[in-house]
Symmetry: none
DNA sequence: CATGAATGAGTCTTCATTCAT
DNA sequence: TATGAATGAAGACTCATTCAT
């Protein structure tokens, strides 16, 4: 009678363990969004992630660490995306800008995309380091890529040669405002479907409001 | 010449009691901003307002009620200001818009002006009713006034006849974004002093980014 | 120049002031019954008595003092009644007993009559002195009067000569139990109207349960 | 003969956890009796049960829930006892009644037996649902059993055929009164030892007070 | 006599975090 | 790795009581 071979059933756990941090992060994001950082309970995060309260502490040593890890984890893709975006758009920057706006408007329909920025805004007073980290590792990189794109367009003579930061602001601002209005305040934009939104945004952005001769 | 009747200077307490709600509200705002709603301690609010913990409950029955009262109190002036603004600007709307932008940019330098909106953003997920109240009683009124101004300008032929809501968004968006960038993320705008900011904002807003013939 | 005579309008207050203690006592009883001693709030007592919270302290120096005054105030009439009862019944004790039972059963219909005893029961653990005071100044006096009546009846040969305390217990017990059952536990006695109650009570009390030859 | 498998003596915690609810209930009863529901402090209950304040909340979600669980827990044995009693006494109900009285009188010597009923009486005004629960799940069941016994005795011709509820009341009332008198009011019964008590109680109950021909 | 305002002391309850298993 | 059990520390809220007017 031979002893049975090592049971392979431990594999499942190994797999699970590897996926755990991400599961927890996801759960934490959901809870932080729903209730805010302070009001979110570790127990709920744990439950949502499918493990026990104590289990979360095996991966993240405290609630604050969990929060920071979360922000960090959500930042990387953004920065990468920004770099890709900038590189891809070098050939035809004006077209790239429109594509970006298109994408942005579509993304902003999805409340979960806005979740991290909203969280950061809410936490910025109490955790300035989180805000700064978000700025330097995400916001400034994305903005930098955008500015680069605009500068390229200016160099190509496709846009007027003015302060590119002001231009970038004019590009992002209205969309950001729209997103906040809709998702934070729960208001109706009254601007119709995404296509129209981008359309009128670009119309104003490129042509201005003033009556042309 | 008879001596005047006993002066009512004995009213120390009475005076205090009347001023109390506002004092508490002010203290609460400060604490909520510093620590967020959850982390703010009633005791600290009380201390800042110069009375005991229990004293606060004489005027506001709970922390949440205090928060809501605070938001409400901060909203009224905004709405009034918006109405005044709209009325005053009817004669020369374009000029009025620039004046508004001027004022707005200057206001946004002062972090305390942004405090309530930031608070609302941070709380919107957990207290949707607060967000809605803020929208209907402050944001929509101000936005409405702005839109009215823009419509007047369009009617007068000073601006192109396009969707006024899109125009309003293009007007506010960049300034809002700038404010968030500076005060929430702690970034440098890199756009220089207020005058220049308004200048470039209006340049783009009116003339657009595109190269004119 | 003579000073004006003391204004007589203070009369109303004087009147009020004299009635105040009793009003407060009444209000306190009501609140104590509704919520128990601990859960009763001085403010509610004050409101019910028609004055301010601080006003109560003009008459009773603390909540506990108020409680004790209340018990004391409710005790006196009981003891007096008992004495009267005993004296009046000496001539025909058996008849008096029935009259007493009649009255008792009728009183027990009124929950407010039972209020003080119930209060005392509830408080006896924490305020043994109150319980003792109630016993010595009310319960024992009433019971003593009853025993006296029973002894008289025995002396007259109307009742068997047995331990009068046991007889008194047999007289009161069932009615007391009935009252508790109805008012404390909220149960139906299932014994019909007061007359029947007294009837069957006396039937058993006098004749016993056993089948007679 | 192989050595027995590793004994599960390591279960210290597990054992503890299983026993905890009962320990807490016991502690709560003690504190509730000593101080009443309101004045009892959760911390004291916890300390008495041998855990921390927060620990109690692991088992009972609030003080009120704890109270209700306590009442419920103390009720079950009573109801069971009543059923047993009734069944056992069917053969010779009169004898059973005397046995019951004997037991009851002895039980009533022990103040802790009376604790729950006293608690219920004290709480009945503020928690009518507790009173009702006690009545339906304990008092009425016990009373029902007693009435059943009495009816059997009547059917057998051992007792007069009268309203059995009135008879039951005459049976319980004096003992209940005696218990309250002794334990609540702290009075002396003056009726001597338990045997005599039962003796005189039954004498009166069966034969009545009236002089027989 | 009367009270509005104020507070100190206290209690319930929650929750991030730890630990024995 | 995983968790059920446990807790220390903290905070919201209450209320009997005081006091200046």
């Amino acid at each position: 009678m031979t002893s049975p071979p090592a049971p392979p059933q431990s594999r499942r756990w190994r797999r699970r363990a590897e996926a755990r941090p991400e599961e927890i992060l996801e759960a934490a994001l959901a809870e932080f969004i729903k209730n805010g950082f302070e009001a979110a309970r570790m127990e709920d995060i744990a439950k949502r992630a499918g493990l026990s309260k104590a289990g979360v502490y095996l991966y993240f040593e405290s609630k604050e660490v969990l929060l920071k890890a979360l922000i960090r984890a959500k930042i990387t893709p953004l920065a990468e995306q920004a770099a890709v975006m900038a590189a891809a758009g070098a050939a035809n920057p004006l077209f790239a800008l429109r594509a970006i706006a298109d994408m942005a408007v579509r993304l902003l329909r999805d409340p979960s995309r806005l979740a991290v920025p909203r969280l950061v805004i809410g936490l910025s007073a109490r955790f300035p380091d989180i805000a700064e980290h978000y700025r330097t590792h995400a916001a400034e990189i994305a903005l930098g890529a955008l500015i680069g794109l605009i500068e390229t367009a200016m160099a190509k003579g496709q846009l007027r040669a003015i302060d590119p930061r002001a231009a970038a602001r004019a590009f992002i601002g209205p969309m950001f405002f729209e997103a906040m209005w809709t998702h934070v305040l729960g208001g109706e934009s009254g601007l119709g479907d995404p296509e129209k939104l981008v359309e009128s945004h670009f119309d104003i952005l490129l042509n201005g409001l003033e009556v042309r001769a």
